[in-house]
């Protein structure tokens, strides 16, 4: 059974690797729509899967965050990927199953997974 004291070990580990974390501007941002529409469509398990995958691969240059309604509620859950210096990519009708390939292909290898994008859905 886990106890809160385990957080101290995480803290000590993170303090020692704090400088490994890449600084500000060249970070990849992954944003999940978490308004009523996103939540109802299943954004919670998608965001959970993203956190797991990013943590598993130790992607120190990736920030996962949440936003409100992106504006195309019928295509929720929606995930936007912002790679510095490139156009934003919008993935639609996301599921936890799609997350692994987007993380490995797009976030790690820099190849957009075209079949999941809003361009392919419309």
């Amino acid at each position: 059974m886990k106890t809160l004291a385990e957080l101290q070990a995480i803290r000590d580990r993170m303090r020692s690797q704090i400088d490994l974390r890449e600084a500000g501007d060249d970070r990849i941002r992954v944003v999940v729509g978490m308004a009523t529409c996103g939540i109802a469509a299943g954004a919670r398990p998608v965001l959970n899967a993203l956190l797991e995958e990013v943590n598993k691969r130790e992607l120190k240059n990736v920030t996962v965050s949440q936003t409100g309604c992106i504006g195309v509620c019928r295509l929720e859950p929606i995930v936007e990927v912002y790679v510095p210096g490139q156009e934003k990519v919008t993935y639609v009708k996301m599921t936890p199953d799609k997350v692994a390939s987007i993380v490995s292909e797009h976030l790690v290898n820099g190849r957009v997974v075209e079949e999941y994008t809003i361009g392919a859905a419309e």
Partner: protein, 185 residues
Amino acid sequence: MKEIALHILDIAQNSIAARASLIELTLSETREAIVFTIVDNGSGMSAQLLARVTDPFTTTRTARKMGLGIPLLRMAAEQTGGSLTIASTEGVGTTVTALFHPGHIDCPPVGDMAGTITLLLQGTPQLELHYIHTIDNHSFQLTTEDLRAQLGPEISLAEPEVILWIRDYLQEQETLLREHKGMKA
């Protein structure tokens, strides 16, 4: 919304949008009633806005002229013979209370509270959250102050390694509570 936990996630975002720094979330389950209360210290609402807030064509957002979070919750609660009440004072905060009757066929399951708490903290790591979940006479309690006391001030709750640990911890505690092995209330 397929779970009460998803309603809670959705409604608590309103508190965050109202710039609350503290949310007190209590969820209590008995054979007769499932009740959750969200108390925040956000900006609160005027009496005029409060009177219109369960109308789907009332919203403070600018993307479009509808907001469905509160109306969907009201419908879900009333469908079970339950109720939704909202009290609010401008400059003080808002209290939302929803009551569901678990014996009613339309009552959604409570669902994944660990996932809901995790995502609230991941989205707003600076938030102070006090969470108490009671099932019959057993309860589980978590405060962000307790988490931060172990973690220190400089490490964000949203760090992937930290937030995933919190999720696993909550899942474990929620399971124990569900099996009536939690602390006696």
